[in-house]
């Protein structure tokens, strides 16, 4: 599904540069649910952003679904993001003047679907996250957990192969976090490949595999016994 070899990334800081990723090797198979952990500043988000084609590596190889990702034009990257990837952000990143339905339908707009199809698909996914009745509410009328569920519905709308989540529960309380995790687990049960960044051990333990970063390299990479979030709910 995803294969990374000797990935390097540095950020220029003034005259010198900050070497954030120092040779990452990682491969993820279809249907996996991986947590990326590590202390603050260890490069978790950087790695996820490179996987998400929002950022580019300086060196190394990245193959997604048998497509080598390199020398991307902005246009190509946009098309790949739209086709392969779904993003879930810590701060939800819903468009505040669009209602839940239109937010969910947005990736479909960029896919070039007809309005009717978009609305149908968006409603289907909203229903899946249990927010059908909130379709016409603006983000400001929703709770944090509801917003994140709308964001998940949006990430799912274009039926991506890979879900990327950067601290999806970072802005939520424990109870809501567990609800969200239960839902993400159910998506994984259905076969969706999921990659998420977190620094909370209990959230990571709800994944099937934990990758720990330290000083720009993978320190530990292990499959774990998945804790079902529903046990807490």
């Amino acid at each position: 599904m995803l294969k990374i070899n000797k990935l390097h990334k540095s950020y220029p800081i003034g005259d010198s540069s900050l070497h954030v990723l120092k040779g990452i090797d990682l491969s993820v198979e279809e249907g996996e649910m991986v947590a990326i952990m590590g202390s603050s500043g260890s490069g978790k988000s950087t790695l996820l952003n490179i996987i998400g084609m929002l950022d580019e590596a300086d060196e190394g190889e990245y193959i997604l679904d048998n497509v080598p990702i390199k020398d991307l034009t902005e246009k190509k990257a946009a098309i790949y993001r739209n086709k392969f990837l779904g993003f879930i952000f810590q701060s939800f990143n819903l468009i505040n003047y669009k209602n839940a339905l239109d937010n969910v339908a947005l990736p479909l707009y960029y896919q070039g679907l007809k309005r009717k199809e978009r609305i149908e698909t968006a409603l289907f996914h909203l229903e899946k996250v249990g927010l059908k009745d909130w379709a016409h509410h603006l983000p400001k009328e929703l709770s944090g957990g509801q917003k994140q569920r709308v964001a998940i519905a949006r990430a799912l709308a274009a039926n991506p192969k890979l879900l990327l989540a950067d601290e999806p529960t970072g802005a939520l309380d424990t109870k809501t976090s567990h609800e969200i995790m239960a839902f993400i687990q159910s998506l994984n049960d259905e076969g969706k490949t999921i990659l998420m960044v977190t620094h909370e051990e209990d959230i990571a333990s709800m994944c099937k595999r934990i990758v720990r970063l330290k000083d720009g390299v993978i320190m530990e990479d292990a499959f774990v016994e998945q804790v079902r979030a529903s046990e807490y709910v």
Binding site: R81, Y110, R115
Partner: protein, 412 residues
């Protein structure tokens, strides 16, 4: 271009513009004002031009009237203050000797008591050649003007103005072939013409020149003459040459500037045309400059909007929007507000012109006649708007995609 027909393209435009209605409205004021100014000023300029055209309408513009006055210098034994009399032979001499002459039309005028049935009035009567029609267009409503046979046979025929007809005839009464009494003599009406404008002496009624000379006992004397020059000749030069000949013929001191009076229509017309051209130029200049300022304001505001929406644009790009789609949307917003503001400007400008027309555009004395702008000017204005809107929209559009998606998303 199919995206223009998509409901969602417009939904996106309305959404983002509607997000800050006050700002959108304020942005539009500049362009609205520019177009309004352009339309109202151009329309008024046209109105003034029309009213001048109506004034000059019937006269050949390359022409000058010349009449005789009294001398201001003694010459060849004559005292100063002698009344000079123009003769028909003077007209002939001028026609033969001045370069660039097209026509010389001698004219005479007097007052007459005119009676028809029980209605009567005192009107001016002019003695004229058919040629008059060439230098001061008679717009015939019915019948004809004086012709050469009338002249040759000293006929007692008359062409009257619509105004006289209204005063001497019952409404809708037949008048061609009718007789009216002119100082006790019967004249047959051969035609009726539109009452002249208020530039120069307008005619009440015209009779054949020869008939006039006879009944008023004028001999070879004439009241004044109208001289028109060929288009390529300077009418001021013709005027000077003609006067020189007249001084010579009438034994007037060559430097006596008062013996002959004249009114140079060509010069007046030039002045006014120059003024009108200047006004139109100024109008375009002011209008376009205001328009530029307005469009620039729109670009500026969109630049701020784009900056404020950096994060949103980042999100859209993460969801798969290509840079082109983002740019297209921003440009569309720019063109859309420019165009809407422009259309409102055109409509309000049109309404103001209609108001101006109803306030100042009515009646024969109106300062502005039919103040309006042509469809082509509206089209030019709209094209300018679309072009400017697109160009100015490109600046925020490129700004919107200049930042990498990852940096846009990180923006707080």
């Amino acid at each position: 271009m199919r995206f223009l027909l998509e409901r969602d393209t417009w939904q996106e435009v309305f959404d983002s513009l509607g997000k800050n209605k006050l700002r959108t409205a304020l942005t539009m004021v500049g362009v609205w004002w520019g177009i309004l100014l352009l339309i109202v000023l151009l329309g008024s300029a046209r109105g003034i031009e029309n009213s001048f055209n109506r004034l000059f309408g019937s006269f050949a513009t390359n022409s000058v009237f010349v009449w005789a006055q009294s001398t201001s210098k003694p010459f060849k034994g004559f005292q100063e203050g002698r009344q000079v009399q123009l003769k028909i032979t003077d007209a002939k001499k001028i026609e033969d000797n001045v370069e660039g002459i097209e026509f010389v039309v001698p004219r005479n005028r007097n007052q007459a008591l005119v009676i028809h049935d029980f209605l009567s009035g005192n009107f001016s009567v002019s003695g004229d050649y058919p040629l008059l029609d060439q230098v001061q267009k008679k717009k015939m409503i019915q019948g004809r003007f004086i012709n050469q046979t009338d002249i040759d046979e000293n006929r007692k025929v008359v062409a009257i103005s619509e105004e006289i007809y209204k005063q001497l005839f019952e409404k809708d009464a037949e008048m061609i072939g009718e007789y009216i009494q002119l100082n006790g003599m019967n004249f047959k009406i051969v035609g009726m013409f539109e009452t002249g404008g208020n530039m120069g002496p307008s005619d009440d009624m015209n009779i054949p020149f020869t008939t006039f000379q006879q009944i008023y006992n004028m001999g070879g004397n004439i009241g004044w003459m109208m001289i028109t020059g060929k288009p390529e000749y300077d009418i001021s030069q013709i005027e000077a040459d003609a006067k020189l000949i007249l001084r010579n013929l009438n034994k007037v001191h060559p430097e006596d500037n008062r013996a002959f009076g004249s009114f140079n229509l060509g010069k007046e017309f030039e002045k006014i045309t120059g003024f009108l051209t200047g006004m139109q130029f100024l109008t375009w200049f002011v209008g376009i400059a205001t328009l530029f300022a307005g469009v620039f304001a729109i670009g500026n505001i969109l630049l701020i909007t784009v900056r404020e929406r950096t994060k949103e644009i980042g999100v859209r790009r993460a969801l798969g929007a290509t840079p082109f789609e983002i740019k297209r949307q921003v440009v569309l917003e720019a063109v859309f507000i420019t165009l809407i503001a422009g259309l409102i400007g055109i409509i309000t400008g049109g309404l103001i012109l209609m108001l101006v027309d109803s306030l100042f555009g009515q009646g024969p004395e109106a300062v502005l006649v039919n103040a309006s702008v042509s469809i082509s000017i509206v089209f030019i204005a709209l094209t300018i708007l679309i072009v400017l809107g697109t160009l100015i929209g490109l600046i925020p559009a490129f700004k919107a995609t200049s930042i990498k998606p990852i940096d846009a998303l990180r923006e707080e």
